[in-house]
């Protein structure tokens, strides 16, 4: 029993780290984290400002919901249509574009829906639905899922049936399922590149405007909840669009994938991408 008490003392003294008021909570999507970009940017920000960033990386839907409740101080997400809604409602403010990359439609080599080279993503999805070819959806309200649903809507298709598989998981796991079931899916290019070793589904449709994947940073309305770190959130948002940061984004990924994963676009507006 005495040993036990000694042990407790050791662990309590080695003690938990308590939250500091100089902490900024960043709610963001899995892709910024999984790509490794934040591992590069966050230490730069912490060094510049002396603040500590807590990165909560979840799907865009959850990231925005947390921010709207005042559970985060700044949001970095990629679902423009949903973001604009939050800004209109006054939950978020000062939405600024940070960077983009693009989505691609991948699928099995033998391409049963014959979509290879189809210029419009919407037409490709129509063919997948018509031929009832297997398609894996994220099904998790992530930015990727929101974009995919937008494409189905434009295609006038209500995706439903045995051919439409909802994984409810992150992009990585979803790619694994698509690969295993020899199915089509919509993925961001970065994650697809990162999974080259494990999956053998080639890109079939790309470079269509609706496939642009635009990331923005938004500050949180302090009225959303108690204890929102407004100054910290603004500092991080400013940091994301600062020229030095944008320069880092521009070259990120070249060493690992031979091509950059994101294109910096600070200062541009949605209108530039219509």
């Amino acid at each position: 029993m005495r040993n036990l008490l000694a042990l407790i003392a050791v662990f309590v003294l080695a003690g938990p780290v308590w939250a500091q008021s100089t902490t900024v909570i960043l709610s963001t999507t899995t892709s910024t984290q999984d790509s490794g970009l934040l591992d590069v940017l966050v230490p730069l920000f912490e060094k510049h400002t002396g603040m500590t960033v807590k990165t909560i990386s979840v799907g865009t839907g959850q990231a925005l919901a947390l921010a709207a409740r005042g559970e985060a101080d700044v949001a970095l997400v990629h679902a423009p249509s949903v973001e604009r809604k939050y800004v209109e409602e006054g939950k978020m403010r000062n939405r600024r574009l940070v960077m983009y990359n693009d989505f691609v439609i991948i699928g099995p080599e033998d391409d049963p829906a014959k979509i290879k080279g189809v210029p419009k993503a919407v037409d490709a999805l129509k063919r997948i639905a018509e031929t009832r070819s297997r398609f894996v959806s994220r099904g998790d309200k992530s930015g990727t899922h929101v974009l995919e649903l937008g494409l189905w809507k434009q295609a006038g298709v209500e995706p439903r049936g045995a051919w439409y598989i909802e994984s409810g998981q992150g992009m990585g796991q979803t790619l694994g399922i698509a690969n295993d079931r020899r199915a089509y899916t919509v993925t961001d290019r970065g994650t697809w590149l990162a999974f080259q070793k494990r999956i053998s589904l080639p890109i079939l449709v790309e470079k269509d405007k609706p496939l642009l994947n635009i990331y923005s940073v938004m500050e949180i309305n302090p009225a959303n909840g108690p204890r929102v770190n407004v100054a910290g959130g603004k500092a991080f948002a400013d940091f994301m669009v600062a020229p030095q940061t944008q320069a880092v984004i521009k070259v990120f990924g070249i060493d690992k994938y031979g091509q950059p994963l994101f294109v910096p676009v600070a200062g541009k507006t949605d209108g530039d991408f219509q």
């Binding site: 036990l4 042990l7 407790i8 662990f11 309590v12 080695a14 938990p16 780290v17 308590w18 939250a19 902490t23 909570i25 899995t30 984290q33 999984d34 490794g36 591992d39 966050v42 807590k54 990165t55 909560i56 990386s57 409740r69 005042g70 559970e71 992150g170 992009m171 990585g172 796991q173 790619l175 994650t191 990162a194 999974f195 070793k197 494990r198 909840g225 108690p226 204890r227 929102v228």
Partner: protein
Amino acid sequence: MELIGQGIVQALGLLLSGDAEVWQITWLSLRISATATLVSLLVGVPLGTAMALTRFPGRGFVVSLINTGMGLPPVVVGLFVTIVLWRNGALGMLELLYTPAAMVLAQLVIAAPIVTGLTLAAMQQVPEKFRLQVLALGASRAQMVWTLLKEARLPMLAAVMAGFGAVISEVGASLMVGGNIKGSTRVLTTATVLETSKGNFDAAIALSLILLVLMFLVNWGLTWIQQGRRA
């Protein structure tokens, strides 16, 4: 299979090269789960002992509750602890969410019923006659309880192992209340999930193996305490 081989090689490499991040993650996992287990003993042992030695109306119901708690889904615990710790939540003013302390709290909620339930079972299994005998020999009530605890030492250590095993291996609650923040709340299980989602399966396997080895070493130590003096 080849992948697992690579994982073993990488795990050894990471540990032997003294990879600072892996050691930090491993140490944090141990610290958080050990703290949660030890605190759960402080709660569970007295509670389990009291439940074993008292009789009151509705006791069966309370025991059933404790036994149900032994199987609390970590993800449910994670969700509720998160909501309580939110800035908007009941304990929001403590600003504990996304800290190791929050993870200790969640793991405590998972481990405490296990320790309580197993303590209750261990104490009840000491024969009633033994208790009466100790009292008859002139022991005070406190001395009697102490003697009972010593008698139930073997199953009690099993309770420690079960509690520790449950919390060091759970991922749902740690991910939710900790946020898997690099250098701060990233533990072996959440790091494994992250590496898997990144497609770094060899790193994920390496982390899993480190977790298994850690669990083995802790249980080995506990078993040595449990069996040692008898051998």
